[in-house]
Symmetry: C2
């Protein structure tokens, strides 16, 4: 499963160390030097450096390798001791509705339509405003950082607030305003929502952390002209186009009644291409997968949401075999109900095995790559995040393995997928900035955020006639 | 959350003083008074006390109710401030192989037979001894307490060591030496293992925390005479009889080749009764369920293990509908790979919905009861644990809800099942004794335990020809 570099004979970098001792190589200054970690690079060869260091400067990884070598080569303005823990790429949450933290657990264990029509839609219609979007998104950022996520891909209403929250939290994101045929609290018409999306694209162009996508909600909520307008906007600015696709049997039924076979329809409209991201894809059949693979489309798998809403099991092993990049997402907090990608990895692996009644399916390695390097590819960010190597952005997390439930440690990948949870993340860096250290958030006042969201939740309770807490 | 040592000077004197003067009601001394918690009783009516207190004396709950009332009635030698968190019964892990923490993640993502024959069986044959059983079990206790489990039901080898570890950790347990036709590291023959079980029963008779069960491994590993001997021993001492049953298709195939229909066979041998506990029951069909319900048999559901080993989905909703008490278990750390019952509850709920493609199936309430009051019934302990009410044992846990991923809080049951994980448990009491406080274990030196298990793991690595860490 893993390549383990153990003995001195396998050290790739003994040479420079000797040179340095001889005095030929002056030490380089870097911003941060992380040491004493088991470095999981998640590169093509799954290289693991058992006792390694990572040197970071200007938001990027400058070098990584054996600790002994790097400590001779680099002087860190700031040194971080990983204390024997795991150092790995930050996790990438491919599908969220961040602000829906405000509706976390408001209604569970219900039929989808009852859940949507009686709780979620009324709660949203009455309560979603810029304030909710901002505080809900900031709470989501707090939760995501605390569970090792460094990048997320979001769809909701008032996404400028979400982008602003992510920026303040120091999180990387790809966000898009939801587009559908009916009005939203932020847009009286699809045209307004498209115009808002255009402004988002223009406002955040060139930002280090925030990228914008064009995000039609789903085929059953967007008429053809809206899909075409969305495509045009996406092409005009060269940004991704993301959509909920083939999530449930109910959706298939609606499309069938309209005479639409989803993938063929999208292909005919010219939407499918390398910038196309489908959330869910539970009912992506063999023919769909062939088209997806051929056009370079991406999928985000959301196993916990798919189970909780009883949507079904996405054929992830078949997608991967067909060559489709597949990322991992939690979906929103009303259908999961947390944003912990560690638990999502665990579920993805186990559900994938169950789906085929094959314990070798969806290995820890496969799932860990979905949440890191593959997930980065899905969001079009594979060239700068998702893998630890020189020149990549310094988005990385340190896992504290000095815990009973992570002892002993035979295989790091196994622990991360099957034994760890988000609370085991100790320190998080995004774009070279330390956003959490020893489990303390440095960019977010989480006490204040929780207070604000509780206040909003009281308003939501009132709006639905629920008893106050 | 902090325990506040309230000396007499810190007593909330005004209220009680007035009450005492007006009503002439002297305050009762109790050992511990827990206050400022949302008390989930898990009683028949799911009573929740929003701002409640629990009074504890001599290991038992004396009273519980509104904080204002109890603070007038009781003086705690020790006061615990739950700080607005959730106070609930400790979780009950119905199926573990505690000492297998030593093999946590040693091999994953493999076919069952390869996994067993190439890794687990050789690793066990070469390494399991009283030392491994003791330290592995103590590590399991540390992990279980840290994730809110207060009682576990165990099957393994050298169970006296497991009982000893649990006793030292202050955990409640039902444990039994595994019985099968072949030798184990602890017994040259089934007769020796039976004799060892008898000694266990005699040694631990009357212990407050430790109870013993008779535990034949499975129908495909125990010949008829061993099953009958196990039954006789179980009846002689009136202790439960527990067995792996109908876990996998492979098992069904072996039994079918022998001409055995499991439930009918067990019934004919006279094993089925209220003391009979079946682990797994994945392939318990309608006829089996009718027999189980009629005889009063119990089942422990292990969804994560069943998914990871691709065994299948147990028909839990149908079992419950048939009237069978069903508990929840994690199984051992080689097939899960942790002992976190919060994650297990989440998976149980989601898998149960998926199984029937019905989001209303396996509600948070159902699952939470499986892990508490129902789980207690399964182990024959329903009259003293699993519910918070007067006269029950003081086995309870406090959840810290002041966290982003548990904010806001609309429904406590929902959070516990769908959003929380074991790391959210702050304080744990078992039999009225505080065994963890502010996440610090008080009965176990977890640093030492981890060191010992790492040492054992090095030996295991060596025995299997794995590279050392």
């Amino acid at each position: 499963m893993e390549n383990i570099f153990t003995g001195p004979t396998q050290l790739p970098t003994e040479g420079p160390a000797r040179k340095n001792i001889e005095g030929n190589t002056p030490m380089e200054d870097v911003d941060i030097l992380i040491s004493n970690g088991r470095i999981l690079t998640l590169d093509e060869r799954d290289r693991i450096i058992q006792d390694g260091s990572v040197a970071i400067r200007d938001g990027k990884i400058v070098d990584l390798g054996e600790k002994e070598t790097l400590q001779l080569r680099y002087h860190g303005q700031r040194e971080i001791d990983a204390k024997g823990g795991i150092v790995m790429p930050g996790l990438i949450n491919g599908h969220t509705h961040a602000a829906m933290t405000c509706f976390r657990g408001i209604a569970d264990d219900m039929e989808l339509l009852e859940w949507l029509n009686r709780y979620i839609f009324p709660a949203e219609a009455k309560n979603v405003n810029p304030e909710l979007a901002y505080w809900g998104s900031l709470l989501a950022c707090a939760e995501m950082i605390r569970s090792g996520t460094t990048t997320f891909c979001d769809m909701y209403i008032f996404e400028d607030e979400t982008a602003q929250a992510a920026k303040e939290a120091g999180m990387r994101c790809l966000v898009g305003e939801v587009l559908f045929d009916f009005p939203s609290p932020n847009a009286k018409s699809p045209e307004e929502a498209l115009a808002y999306t255009r402004r988002l694209i223009q406002k955040w162009a060139g930002d280090t952390l925030v990228r914008i996508a064009v995000e039609p909600h789903a085929l059953y909520t967007c008429r053809e002209s809206l899909l075409l307008d969305a495509k045009a906007l996406s092409r005009e600015y060269g940004v991704p186009l993301a959509i909920h696709l083939l999530e449930s049997k109910g959706e298939i039924q609606i499309l069938t009644e309209k005479g639409i076979k989803a993938t063929q329809y999208l292909d005919r409209l010219g939407l499918l291409g390398p910038d196309f991201i489908a959330f869910h894809g539970v009912y992506l059949d063999e023919e769909d997968r062939a088209v997806f693979a051929d056009r370079g489309c991406k999928v985000v798998h959301n196993p916990e949401s798919n189970m909780k809403l009883a949507s079904g099991i996405a054929p992830v092993t078949a997608m991967i075999r067909a060559g489709i990049p597949v990322g991992l997402g939690t979906d929103g907090c009303a259908s999961n109900n947390n944003l912990d990608l560690f638990q999502e990895m665990d579920t993805a692996a186990k559900l994938g095995k169950f789906a085929l009644l094959d314990p070798t399916a969806m290995s820890a390695r496969t799932v860990l790559r979905m949440a890191t390097c593959q997930g980065a590819d899905v969001l079009g960010m594979g060239n700068h995040i998702g893998t630890l190597r020189a020149e990549m952005k310094a988005d990385l997390i340190i896992i504290d393995t000095e815990k009973p439930h992570l002892t002993p440690l035979y295989h790091a990948y196994s622990h991360l997928v099957y034994a760890a949870n988000g609370s085991d993340v100790d320190t998080v860096l995004i774009d070279g900035r330390i956003v959490m250290e020893n489990r303390k958030l440095l960019t977010i006042d989480d006490g204040k955020v929780m207070t604000e969201v509780r206040r909003i939740a009281e308003r939501i309770r009132g709006s639905l006639g629920m008893a106050t807490s």
